[in-house]
Symmetry: C2
Subunit: 301 residues, 2 copies
């Protein structure tokens, strides 16, 4: 029983401490917004379906590009060809991919999908629902939440960008800033914050991280983590936009409104945990990448 | 080719940015120490072998306990019964385990393995090789590395403790401080720093994190993440101490000496990346849980 209690109490710590959805007693329905199916990317892996919410306002051209790629079935049958444990899973056309074998469109890819202008950040506009985290951040002058996404702002609050946390969805690029074309990556490890504002990040995983964690890994020290044996790569079975599915076949997700009192209360409870589990109350400092943003799946197959 | 270059250059970012082993050009052999086989715990999962290095000086009684449990074959055939994506994988005797079915020793467990006195921290002793990270930390007055482990110290530098980073190995407990008995957990997600100095942490994964990431997950919002269907739990196939294996069957790992100039140089290169991949040089601030500590497997089956 001790162990059982141990679990229960460690759970309290989990709900307060872990990067997890909000505690079992949920906020009111009005505290959640429904994810726009035009922004809901569904990535089918052999382990399960991953759901990514796009935030197009941060990178309208990249969002339009990834929607176009998905609708052209560009990614279907390609792979997660570069997966580095604790860092990123990168998907698309990888080195060693044989176009004819792996993807009929590969030869045309460069023509069809020219390099995009970088969208590393955006101007702060009026009327945004930026909700400050409430403590200093080691890497940015201001951090907080916008529409459920972790966001950083510069010292003048003139520009803002999405933060690289576990689950962040972004486009890879070459050395030049304006060189992203089709490859995406998703963060699967400790937040690589130094990539912030230096790559175009415009989405986050809202469901299915555990399936990305099952992906076959490459060796970071060999071939830059690219899995050179094409047969060993886990496929991108299919990528779809929820908007392109019949309504009755769409998964529907709701995300807590990070501007709501319910979210503020959850953050406060996390900052000042009252669980008897804690002997030394932790410093009232939160990691922007460790604050849970509650997601509910409300319907779908 | 663009994508290929993209990989290569993103790789440079990876080697500098990712929570990864040191770059391909390795430090000299003298910059590495060999892991003591008495401190090398080998956890066989159905996906592959995980290697954990213990740091007994931080928790001598817990280290003695886990060695005794391993040598009693206590964990063999038990399971990772509570696995929460982005937080921890917890192993041992879980709720719903039927002693007779799952483990003959369970009934005797509480008698054989009485609760341990907490070893949340230790007094700072002379002659330790604490190497400061070199920048402020959001959660502790001082942080740095000792023997390859991330360590925090209090404001008076009187006490120190292991930091909860991805891969940290610790014992679970109940609400009381002195209640740990047999259950362990390993951090598999964004560093849950608020657990620092409130649980007894005394090891870290030096190889095989990707196998822990494949473990069957529980639902954090249901049964505190415990996988109630025992049949769905991934087993702890076997846990062994390398010291108990014939020498020719032991894996041998070497860890970079975090007090060496080679490590200091790697940290500096990480803090001030020179890769042309970066347009905005990131702030010269490192996350103690994001700094790679190089590990080499030098022999073994």
């Amino acid at each position: 029983m001790k162990t059982v209690y141990g679990l229960r109490t460690l759970l309290m710590a989990v709900l307060i401490c872990g990067a997890l959805p909000a505690p079992a007693a949920p906020p009111a329905a009005a505290d959640f917004r429904t994810v726009d199916p035009e922004n809901l990317v569904l990535i089918d892996t052999r382990y399960g379906q991953v759901a990514v919410e796009l935030f197009p306002d941060f990178a309208p051209n990249h969002a339009a590009r990834v929607r176009a790629l998905i609708r052209a079935h560009f990614y279907d049958g390609l792979s997660f060809y570069r997966v580095i444990d604790g860092f990123v899973a990168q998907g698309g056309i990888g080195e060693e991919d044989a176009p004819a074998k792996d993807h009929p469109d590969e030869a045309k890819a460069l023509d069809r999908w020219p390099p995009l202008k970088a969208e590393f950040d955006r101007k702060v506009a009026r009327g945004e629902t930026f909700t400050p985290l409430g403590n200093a951040d080691p890497m940015a002058p201001f951090v907080g939440f916008e529409n459920g996404f972790p966001v950083a702002r510069d010292a003048r609050k003139a520009h803002e960008w999405l933060i690289h946390c576990p689950g962040t969805f972004a486009f890879a690029r070459d050395n030049g800033p304006d060189t992203a074309t089709t490859e995406f990556y998703i963060v699967i490890g400790q937040s690589p914050r130094r990539l912030d504002r230096d790559l175009t990040a415009f989405g986050r995983v809202i469901s299915g991280m555990q399936y990305l964690q099952k992906l076959e890994r490459g060796d970071a020290e060999v071939d830059s983590g690219v899995i050179m044996d094409v047969a060993k790569r886990d496929p991108i079975v299919r990528m779809q936009l929820a908007a392109d599915l019949p309504e009755d076949q769409r998964p529907v997700f709701q995300v807590i409104r990070t501007e709501s009192k319910a979210f503020a209360d959850a953050v406060k409870a996390r900052r000042y945990p009252t669980s008897p589990f804690y002997f030394r109350k932790p410093p009232p400092v939160l990691d922007i990448c460790g604050v849970p943003v509650a997601v509910k799946r409300v319907s779908g197959p």
